[in-house]
C-alpha cells in the first residue's frame, strides 16, 4: 500500500540517510563490505619439480586467467576451447569475422581498418575493476577512455515531445530544474530549522538552488546549462526554451536520463585500443600454445585422484587425465555433458538460467553523429532497439561502427526474428533519432547471445527475483562454487554474484585458484 510521505517524515528520512552512511562505515571496519580495493597479487605456491596437470574447459577470460597464473607456477595446463576462437563473450567483430549464431551465420563485412570494429559482448571497463586493469597493465594492453554518458546524445520516446529526439542535456537540466523548484518551495525556513542548524539549512537550500539553476523566488525558468539556442560566442547567447515537464513525465526516459550512468556504468570507463579482444590476445601471447581449438568437451569424470576429461577434436575422441579441472563452460551446457557430479551440484547447475542479451551494429558510411556535436556516448530510446552507441575512437575518420541495438534484458524479442526483420527493426527505431539513418548505415551484424554456438546464452542469471537472492539460491551458489572432490571448479562470471562483468570472471578464477592453492600446499607439506 502506498501513502503520502509527510514533510516531517521526509526530513526524518534525510536524517536517516546520515544513519545509513554511518552504518556503511561501520560495515567497512568489520570487513563486511569492500573498502576501495587495490589489485592484489595472487600468492600461489610455485610447484617446483612437482608435476601437476590441469584441464581448463573453455577459453573465456576466467579460463585464460587460470592458464596464465597456474602456468607461471609450473602447472601443466591445457585449455580446451569448443569454438574457433577464445574469449567467449569478449568478442570483437571485425572485417571477415565469422559470427557463429546457430541458424544465422554471418560474416562481418565492415571495412578492413583498425577502428572499424564492434565489441559485441564486453564493451566497457569501469576504472574500479582493478583486477582486470592489473592484467591490462601486466599484459601491456593499451587502454583509452570509453565515453558512455554524453550530454549531447539523445533521448527519444514516441510518447514524449511528439517523438522528437531531445538532447540528454536538455532532459537532465530541465529535470533538475523542476525537481529543485519543488524541493525549494517545499522547505520553508521554519521547517528547515528542526533537523538542521541555520548554516546547514542555508547550505542545503543553496545546494538545491544551484542543482537546478533556480532564479529569484526559487523558480526554474530554464537554464543556459543546456547550451544556447543561438549565439554565445560573438553575440550574446540566447537561452533555450524550457521543456514541458509533462512530456518529461510521460514515460521512463526521465529516469533513464538521470540514472543510466551510475555505479559500474558511470564515468570514467575504459576500453582497449583496437577492440576488447585485445585483452584475450594479451593472455594468448602468454598461454596461446596451450589452447586446443574446436575441441568440444564430451565428458567430465571426477575421481579421488583427479579428473578424466574426454573431448572431440578433428573427428576423434580424445582423453585427458589431469589432477585438476577448471570449467568455464556455461552451466546450461555443462548439464548436457557426460559427468558424475553429485546431485546437489547438478541441481545448482540446472538452476542457473541463461541470459538473453542481444546487440546489433552497423557500419556508418559517414560519421554523421560528429556533425551533431556527438563524440562518443549513448543515445537512449524507449523502443526495443533501446540504444545507439557512437564510437569514441576513430574521431574525424571517414567512417565508424555504431551500435544500433542493445537489448540486455529481454533480448529474445529480436533473437526470435529473422536477420532481415532484426535489421529493419533497428533501422526503423534508429531513424526516429537520426532521420536519414537508413541511408547512412550499411553492413549490419547482429549478435543474439542466446543462440551463439558453444555459448547459447549471455550472462548467467542466478536470481529469480530482480532484487534479492533467496536462501536456497545462496546455498546453491556456494554448492557450485565449492570444488567437487577438491578437483573440479566451476569458474567464469557465471560463478559470481555480479555476472556479465569481466572483473567477475577474473575474481571467480582467483577464488578457485586460491582454494586450490590451499589444497596443494597441504598436500605438499
Amino acid at each position: 500500500m502506498t501513502r503520502l510521505v509527510t514533510r516531517r517524515e521526509f526530513l526524518n528520512l534525510l536524517g536517516a540517510t546520515g544513519g545509513t552512511a554511518a552504518a556503511l562505515k561501520a560495515g567497512t571496519a568489520l570487513g563486511l563490505l569492500p573498502a576501495t580495493r587495490s589489485a592484489k597479487a595472487l600468492d600461489l605456491l610455485a610447484l617446483g619439480s612437482n608435476n601437476k596437470k590441469v584441464a581448463i574447459l573453455g577459453g573465456g577470460l576466467s579460463g585464460l586467467t587460470v592458464a596464465h597464473e597456474l602456468g607461471k607456477r609450473g602447472y601443466d595446463c591445457t585449455v580446451l576451447e569448443a569454438s574457433h576462437r577464445c574469449g567467449g563473450r569478449i568478442f570483437t567483430v571485425r572485417h571477415g569475422d565469422l559470427i557463429d549464431e546457430i541458424g544465422n551465420r554471418q560474416y562481418c563485412e565492415f571495412d578492413d581498418e583498425p577502428h572499424m570494429y564492434f565489441n559485441a559482448g564486453a564493451a566497457r571497463i569501469p576504472t574500479s575493476h582493478k583486477q582486470l586493469l592489473a592484467y591490462c597493465k601486466e599484459l601491456e594492453i593499451e587502454l583509452e577512455v570509453f565515453v558512455g554518458e554524453n550530454n549531447n546524445a539523445y533521448m527519444q520516446d514516441d510518447g514524449s515531445f511528439d517523438g522528437k529526439p531531445v538532447r540528454a542535456n536538455d532532459y537532465k537540466t530541465n529535470i533538475r530544474g523542476f525537481l529543485s523548484e519543488m524541493l525549494a518551495k517545499s522547505m520553508s525556513a521554519q521547517q528547515m530549522d528542526e533537523p538542521f542548524t541555520d548554516e546547514e539549512a542555508e547550505n542545503l537550500l543553496g545546494l538545491i538552488r544551484s542543482f537546478g539553476d533556480l532564479r529569484e523566488g526559487d523558480l526554474y525558468q530554464g537554464s543556459t546549462r543546456t547550451g544556447y539556442a543561438s549565439g554565445g560566442y560573438l553575440t550574446h547567447g540566447v537561452q533555450k526554451d524550457m521543456l514541458a515537464f509533462r512530456d518529461l513525465l510521460a514515460g521512463p526516459m526521465a529516469r533513464t536520463a538521470m540514472t543510466a550512468y551510475e555505479g559500474d556504468y558511470g564515468p570514467c570507463l575504459l576500453q582497449p585500443k583496437g577492440g576488447m579482444d585485445n585483452i584475450i590476445a594479451g593472455f594468448l601471447r602468454k598461454v596461446g600454445e596451450q589452447v586446443k581449438y574446436r575441441a568440444m568437451v564430451a565428458s567430465i569424470q571426477v575421481n579421488n585422484d583427479g579428473v578424466n576429461v574426454a573431448y572431440d577434436q578433428d573427428g576423434e575422441r580424445h582423453q585427458l587425465e589431469v589432477d585438476y579441472c577448471f570449467n568455464c563452460i556455461p552451466t546450461h551446457l555443462t548439464v548436457g555433458l557426460d559427468h558424475n557430479f553429485p546431485g546437489d551440484y547438478v541441481k545448482a547447475l540446472k538452476y542457473v538460467r541463461r541470459g538473453e542479451a542481444y546487440k546489433a551494429a552497423f557500419q556508418a558510411k559517414e560519421r554523421f553523429w560528429e556533425k551533431e556535436d556527438i563524440y562518443g556516448g549513448i543515445t537512449r530510446m524507449n523502443n526495443r532497439s533501446s540504444e545507439i552507441w557512437y564510437p569514441p575512437h576513430g574521431i574525424h575518420k571517414e567512417k565508424g561502427v555504431v551500435l544500433g541495438a542493445y537489448d540486455f534484458g529481454g533480448g529474445m524479442y529480436h533473437t526470435m526474428m529473422s536477420q532481415e526483420e532484426r535489421i529493419e527493426a533497428h533501422l526503423r527505431d534508429g531513424e526516429k533519432v537520426h532521420p536519414n539513418y537508413r541511408n547512412l548505415v550499411e553492413k549490419p551484424v547482429t549478435i543474439a547471445w542466446h543462440r551463439m554456438n558453444h555459448m547459447l546464452g549471455c550472462a548467467a542469471r542466478w536470481r529469480r527475483s530482480f532484487r534479492t537472492w533467496t536462501t536456497e539460491e545462496e546455498e546453491m551458489y556456494h554448492t557450485l562454487q565449492a570444488p567437487v572432490n577438491g578437483r573440479h571448479y566451476v569458474i567464469g562470471d557465471q560463478m559470481s554474484m555480479h555476472s556479465a562483468w569481466m572483473e567477475s570472471a577474473v575474481l571467480s578464477a582467483h577464488w578457485a585458484m586460491e582454494d586450490l592453492d590451499q589444497r596443494v600446499r597441504a598436500e605438499l607439506a
Binding site: 569448443a82 574457433h84 576462437r85 571477415g96 569475422d97 565469422l98 557463429d100 546457430i102 541458424g103 544465422n104 551465420r105 560474416y107 568440444m296 568437451v297 564430451a298 565428458s299 573427428g315 576423434e316 552451466t331 546450461h332 551446457l333 555443462t334 548439464v335 548436457g336 555433458l337 557426460d338 547447475l349 540446472k350 541463461r354 526470435m416 529473422s418 543462440r451 554456438n453 558453444h454 547459447l456
Partner: protein
C-alpha cells in the same frame, strides 16, 4: 567408429565447399554440425537448454522433424519456445545436410535418461493403452504408423510436447497430419497431472 570418421571427413569436405569462394583463404570455415551444442554430448539430451535426446532416435523420425522445422510446419507457434529455438537451425539445411546429420546422429548409441518427472505410473498405465495403439505396448514406436519410440526419451521433453500438442502449439499445421492426429489423441489427457502420470508410466518401460 570408422563409419563415424568417414562421415565426419565428408562433412568437413562439405564445409570446405560451402564457403564463399572469393574469401575461402581468409574466412573461418563452418559446417552444419551444430547438434551437440544444444542436444548434449553424443546427443544425450540437455535439460539445461531443454533440447531432447537424439541418440537412439529413429532416422525416419529425425528426417521428418527436420523437414517439418525447415518447412515451417513445426516450431512456429509463439508459445512453442523450444520449437522456435530449433526452427532457424533447420531452416537453412539442404536435403544433403539433413541426410548427413541424420547419419551422424545415427552413429550415437542410445544412453539411458534420467527420471525427472513425478507422477502416478499406475494411473498412467491405463491412459497409455490408447498411446500403445500407435507407439507400441512397450513404447518401442512403429514406423509403419509414423509413431516414434517414446521409451527412453527425456521425460521432461515428453511432458513439454504433450502439453504443446494439447494446446495446439505443435501439430496444428494443416500439413502436419501426424501432428494433427496427436493433437486429437492428447485431448484425453485432462491436465498437467494426467500428463505427468502417463509420462511416469512411459518411464517404467525402460530401454537398454
Amino acid at each position: 567408429m570408422i563409419r563415424k570418421r568417414l562421415i565426419i571427413s565428408f562433412l568437413i569436405a562439405l564445409a570446405g565447399i560451402s564457403i564463399p569462394l572469393q574469401a575461402a583463404e581468409e574466412r573461418e570455415p563452418f559446417d552444419d554440425r551444430y547438434c551437440t551444442t544444444c542436444h548434449g554430448a553424443d546427443g544425450r539430451g540437455n535439460y539445461g537448454v531443454q533440447a531432447p535426446r537424439l541418440a537412439g532416435m529413429e532416422d525416419w523420425y529425425l528426417i521428418r522433424q527436420l523437414e517439418n522445422f525447415r518447412a515451417g510446419i513445426r516450431g512456429v507457434h509463439p508459445r512453442d519456445i523450444e520449437g522456435i529455438a530449433m526452427r532457424p537451425m533447420a531452416a537453412k539445411l539442404t536435403d544433403e545436410s539433413i541426410t548427413d546429420i541424420v547419419d551422424w546422429v545415427g552413429s550415437w548409441e542410445y544412453l539411458p535418461t534420467e527420471v525427472t518427472v513425478e507422477g502416478d505410473a499406475a494411473a498412467g498405465a491405463q491412459l497409455y493403452s490408447q498411446c500403445a495403439t500407435c507407439h507400441g505396448a512397450d513404447g518401442q514406436g512403429n514406423e509403419a504408423l509414423g509413431a516414434p519410440a517414446l521409451r527412453g526419451q527425456n521425460d521432461w521433453y515428453l511432458v513439454t510436447q504433450l502439453r504443446n500438442f494439447k494446446q495446439g502449439w505443435r501439430g496444428s499445421d494443416a500439413q502436419d497430419s501426424y501432428g494433427q492426429q496427436m493433437m486429437a489423441m492428447v485431448q484425453m489427457l485432462a491436465d498437467d497431472d494426467t500428463i505427468n502420470n502417463v509420462v511416469s508410466y512411459i518411464n517404467t518401460l525402460g530401454r537398454n
